[in-house]
Amino acid sequence: MTTSPRYVGIDLGTTNSAAAVFDGDSVTLVRNAQGGTLTPSIVRVDGRGNLLVGSRARRYIESDPDNTRGEFKRLMGTSKEVGFPASGAAYTPEALSAEVLKSLRADIQEQFGFTPDHAVISVPALFELPQSAATSEAARLAGFKRVELLQEPIASALAAGWSDDEQAGSWLVYDLGGGTFDVSLLETRDGLLRVVGHDGDNFLGGKDFDWAIVEWALAQLRERDGVALSRAKADDAPAIRKLKLAAEEAKIELTRAQATVLAIPNLTTRAGAPYDVDLELDRATLERLCTPAIQRTLAVCRRLLESHGIAPGELSHVVMVGGPSVMPGVRRQVAEGLACSLSEGLDPMTLVAQGAAIYAATAGLDAQTQELAVPGGYKAWLQFPAMSSDLTPHVVGRLVADDKAPAQAPSELRLVRSDGLWESPWAAVDAEGAFILATSLLARRPNVFKIEGRRGDGGSVTISPATVTIVQGLTISDPPLSRTIGVALANDGVRTYFERGAPLPARRTFTLMTVEGVAKGSDQSLLKIPIVQGEHDEAHLCRLVGTLEISGVEVKESLPSGSEIEMTLELDRGGRMSARALVPALEQVFEDVAQLLVPEADPAVLLASVDAARERIAGLRSDAFRRGAIPSLDRLSAIEAALPELEADIAAAQGGDGDAAQKARRTLLELDAQLEDLELERNWPEITQEANEAVIWATSWVGEFGLPHEQRLMEETAKALRLAQEKRDPAELQRQLRLVQRLGNTASRRHPEAWTRRFEYAASQVGDATDIVKAQALVKQGREAAAKGDNDTLRDVTQKLWQLLPSDVEKRRLSYDSGVR
């Protein structure tokens, strides 16, 4: 006997977490032991190792902050452990998140009488792959058998769309959480919700408002009382923690009140005596303090709208999500900045959890593992949308051949709706045992259909499973990937697997070549295949998110340089990645992705990087002055303006704030990419000259040896290249330049002597080959082929020789030591 499906959604937040259960009809919020729908994402471990979670843990955050920890979501995916000195225990961020998930799971058991095995957990849209992987691990540790991850803005959008029939056109979800900011542009049409695009900042949230208040308070204390406290000093950390807590409370209070007081007894000691703080903060000051962060969120929104050709005034509305979004200052500035109305009546604190629960229905992820098989029934394997905006979706099925089945196979099947008011026509089973059944759904409710089968002689056949349930309502199209993902190559290039915006889930395989051998049995011999995330053509500008490693200890036989590797990357709907490398020569598969961690951010290295950035800025600025390049100067000023905040984060990192260190690392990477763009722009005359010469060179080869479609493509590319020149777009120009070079190369290889020349050039470098014996044998083979005029063999030999020539050492270092090309 099966019970009706229940779908569980969880919002695992930075500050608070929430869970919701959807039964196909309505969403119910899960209440914790204290009766609240929000469970603080806080864990306490006392001296005896006892663990407290949620509100009960939060009570100790002021009195025993060292053993009461929150905001560990911001450390997800890093190797940084969180220590609890009283017990001497240390937990990974995912282990702490698992405790929060266990607590929510127990609340569901208490309220609904079942322990969920499956759930949908929300993650910020711009979570990097290691952070998503850590979230899945947290769920596994909490006892979930299967989870799907869902981007938070999609969850909010789904919940907002589900509760409102009238929504149509383009709209935004503005999700300002405790530690992250996400904005999504959506479109609703024919009951289908489409994510047009999204953007955000992984290190911008309510916490930044709190820090702005803390900095203001520190300045007040310094000015008024001469008390100098600093986030950079580890000794001041306890006082800073108390101030931050008071700042958070004041911020919440000012949502309703016009003014409040930051009252902190015994903040620190002054001349040996306790120092009490008493600072008045009004709403206008709070808004002034928070405005830079709010304006940063609006800049992200405008960037998103602009990239999709939408003016702010063209939006139908904005849905506000997340605790800080209830602040009057935030709401006013968003409404004014985006020139549209804000959605009312939605609970910004639980919308994500509600959407996650609805999405669980879309994904057919019933929270309980149910036995659907009917004893004695003829088994059928069914595929259908568990949730559909379509009123007449198909149910596709295939009979599972079973010699032991007591029943004879049916020749026809049909569906009968549980209300008895509709039945599908009988559908014949084809030669493959397949059938397609029609449905007719009643709007916005779960629809249960009984599956009936009959034999050719008219006798009925029991089918297993006996029923299917489809919920009719707003559904979401395949979510788009938020960041381009690829493999870093030894020449610092990137083999792109999935472009930003690609629908998820997705899977792709490319054949790569090793640039060096892997010696069997040697633990020193390690081939790395770095997986990177980012929109840049150079690997070093993208973020390393994992490395698939092939070690000499694992290989069955030594793997020579130039061997083929069939590398597959796969992403599920939540953006969770798995990688697989098949080495055909060894018939071996490698699947362990090592270092799926956000890289460490050492404050000393970060500071050195800031110094280097300053030098680059100075060089670029003097060059821009000479050229009178005003736009470049403006961009440089903007980059320079970001440095003080970056240095403040590094100072906080020196004081032990791991989160600030990660934020600084990300910011530096982004600044690096911007400086790289400006350097390209500085080299504009050289790049354009190179482009012009490449066009002349390629046009002549393509004109003489190109196929007709290559000649036409050459014309189009030359046009695109000229357009990029007119627009002074260095990145686009480089892209087109690469295409021109490829076309020229392809055509030039058709020249009767092309391969002879290429072979001779490769042969001249044979002394540098990674496998000299093999390379010399190839040279001998090539000379014989050249003498016979055997162009095919010559081409084959030359290509093999190329694989043995070393790649540039510096470029390999930049591309995360990639061992493939």
Binding site: D390, V396, R398, S424, D430, A434, H709
Partner: protein, 135 residues
């Protein structure tokens, strides 16, 4: 036109085996049906026809095709390519997927409140509106 073979081969209408003038809801329905059939490993869904011959149909290709057609500006471009005579000919001999479950019994047809194909000409109709004639 240089990349015409690719534009035909990857054309979402051909991948999904639907006509350019079909409304969005029907295209989504067909896409979901194909995803189900591919998941079940049905041979009848495994290939589709293009002007340059049959091609393998994968779940990734179906998802990508659906995503392309959801974006109105992209759909318009694909409609143009799919409306060319070469593509139309391929669509005519599209995959051998098991047929419409309502085939042969129109009276049983379930209500489809969103079927607007009769009133919305789509891109194919736009040719005529602009006075173009197909060769």
């Amino acid at each position: 036109m240089a990349d015409a073979p690719r534009r035909f081969a990857d054309n979402p209408f051909l991948v999904l085996g639907v006509r350019p003038e079909q409304p969005r809801v029907e295209i989504e329905r067909e896409g979901q049906k194909l995803l189900g059939m591919l998941e079940l490993g049905l041979r009848s869904a495994a290939t589709y026809m293009t002007p340059s011959g049959p091609r393998a149909r994968t779940q990734e290709a179906v998802r990508a095709a659906l995503a392309e057609l959801r974006a109105p500006e992209k759909r318009l471009m694909h409609e143009l390519w799919a409306s060319l005579p070469q593509a139309q000919a391929s669509a005519g001999k599209a995959d051998g997927a098991p047929g419409d479950p309502y085939r042969g019994d129109a009276s049983q047809r379930a209500p489809d409140h969103t079927d607007t194909s009769a009133t919305q000409p789509g891109f194919a109709g736009a040719f005529a509106l602009f006075g173009w004639r197909r060769p």
